[in-house]
């Protein structure tokens, strides 16, 4: 049912050793929304996520609707080329059913082109399951490109059919062209599966294009509302200091 509130946050504050990292946050999220969180480095964006997940102590109220399944993809991953861990093993840490793993990889588009790209093959015939099984799954996760890794992480996040996705910078480490693709994929998955997305992003263009609501965060809430209304030059200057703001809509979608 659209319009159902699934998260309410009241007067949220987080302190680390008497240092106020977040204070006085009030917002709510409705089912099916995309809420973007923007702000400079050290603004407490990742801290906000960790508080929402209950991983750190906080003051104030965080109220999730009951029975929600939350999936979280953090920003920090220590996956390097050296890490002996295959894509399959990584995904199996969360879900053991092979059909579900292959289904999730297909949903994020890790099929023909990507696998062909991975193994340098070009036969289109034996695509899908057997391809995924033989090439993507057996691949060392550190050998994936930035874009492929991000797809695998998205596959991880949707494996258990979550109701809500928390994404910390889903496109860190991806070139500019690839970012759009990842966001288009997230939007497509959201439309198909009807989950709610909270995402941290540094790219205001993306926020304009994909988010229903935005929170500008710099320890406290600098702005909150629809991106086209609240992301005005004044609040951007307040958020980042100096000369931001020129982002506003070069291309109008």
């Amino acid at each position: 049912m659209p319009g159902e509130t699934i998260l309410t946050v009241e007067n949220l504050g987080v302190k680390f050793d008497n240092n106020e990292v977040l204070k006085g946050l009030n917002f709510f999220v409705q089912k099916g929304d995309v809420l973007a969180i923007v702000g400079p480095n050290g603004a407490g964006k990742s801290v906000l996520f960790r508080a929402l997940l209950g991983l750190i102590p906080y003051s104030g109220k965080i109220k999730w609707a009951p029975g929600l399944k939350i999936s979280y993809v953090p920003q920090k991953f220590n996956i390097d080329k050296d890490l002996p861990l295959s894509v399959e093993e990584f995904l199996r840490f969360k879900e053991k059913t092979p059909e579900k793993i292959i289904g999730a990889l297909k949903a994020v588009g890790m099929t023909d082109e990507h696998t062909e790209f991975l193994c340098g093959l070009k036969h289109r015939k034996e695509t899908t399951p057997s391809h995924i099984e033989h090439h993507v799954l057996k691949e060392r996760i550190g050998w994936l490109s930035g874009g492929q890794l991000q797809r695998v992480l998205i596959a991880w996040s949707i494996l258990d059919n979550p109701d809500i996705l928390l994404f910390d910078e889903p496109t860190a480490g991806i070139d500019v062209g690839g970012e759009e693709t990842i966001y288009n994929l997230l939007k497509k998955l959201k439309d198909e599966r009807g989950f709610t997305i909270l995402l941290i992003s540094h790219d205001l263009n993306i926020v304009y294009k994909y988010a229903d609501n935005v929170i500008c965060l710099n320890k406290e809430m600098v702005c909150y509302g629809e991106p086209s209304t609240v992301l005005d030059p004044a609040s951007l200057v307040k958020l980042y200091g100096g000369e931001a703001g020129f982002y506003k809509h070069e291309h109008d979608h």
Binding site: V73, P74, F77, D82, P84, L85, S86, R140
Partner: protein
């Protein structure tokens, strides 16, 4: 009939089991980027061995008690600071080595430093069998959380994995294997038996399962080959076991992935 009391059989049994455990735990130490921890904490065992010798208990227990203290110290630093406290750990452990050398009675010193598997008895074998079983059973329970916390600590936490508890359990197992290894390779070389087979396995494996199993296998083979070789040529087994693992490492470089 008297196979169980055959000295070479006992040596091989204890050596191979210890090698398997050391290789397997070593693979996760490499994953956790703590390859040198085994090396460093093994030095702490020496004062423990000395006290055990002085009070006439099995040196294994003295070593294990000292290692347990060391592991608690490392774990504490790990959760308190989030930083690898290398300098502090390095200083502390070098000092305990100095202390150990000073108080270990001279006749036992060489054996403690370099191990002497030829002096192994039935009780040592039983202790080894039981503890290696504990190691593999515990690892079976925690390897998923351990690996996930290496990939991303936040991800592991968000899935309800108690990262610091798992980390502590793992260090405890490392303390056990180092204490067991004192008989096989001694204080100085146990760090090598933990790391070298695992480093060799890393060269030639793509997946986690392949990596960890090969690491255990390489550890076992090093011990088997090393002890047999040493017994045939009447050499000191500890260093030969470590050199055997070195040979495996060099061979795997040829097939590096």
């Amino acid at each position: 009939m008297n196979m169980i009391t055959n000295p070479l059989f006992l040596q091989l049994l204890v050596g191979v089991l210890t090698g398997l455990g050391a290789g397997y735990l070593g693979s996760f130490m490499i994953l956790k980027r703590m390859s040198l921890v085994g090396d460093v904490i093994s030095h702490v065992a020496l004062p423990g061995i000395a006290l055990a010798v002085i009070f006439e208990v099995n040196p294994f227990f003295g070593a294990f008690a000292a290692l347990l203290l060391a592991v608690i110290g490392i774990w504490f630093l790990e959760i308190k600071t989030e930083l690898p406290s290398e300098t502090l750990v390095g200083i502390f452990f070098a000092l305990s080595l100095a202390l150990g050398i000073l108080i270990t009675p001279e006749p036992e010193l060489l054996e403690a430093l370099f191990g002497d598997i030829t002096k192994i008895g039935l009780s040592d074998a039983l202790i080894t069998i039981a503890l290696i079983a504990v190691i593999f059973f515990t690892m079976f329970r925690i390897y998923r959380g351990l690996t996930l916390s290496v990939v991303s600590k936040q991800l592991a936490q968000s899935m309800g994995i108690n990262v610091s508890k798992i980390s502590f359990l793992f260090l405890l197992l490392v303390a056990i294997i180092v204490a067991l290894g004192l008989k096989v390779t001694g204080v100085f070389l146990m760090g090598a038996l933990v790391i070298v087979p695992a480093a060799a396995a890393k060269n030639v494996s793509v997946s986690l399962a392949g990596f960890t199993r090969l690491a255990a296998l390489f550890g076992g083979i090093s011990a088997l080959g090393g002890i047999l070789f040493a017994s045939y040529f009447n050499l000191h087994p500890g260093p030969i076991v470590v050199l055997a693992s070195g040979v495996i490492f060099l061979l795997t470089l040829l097939f590096k992935k």
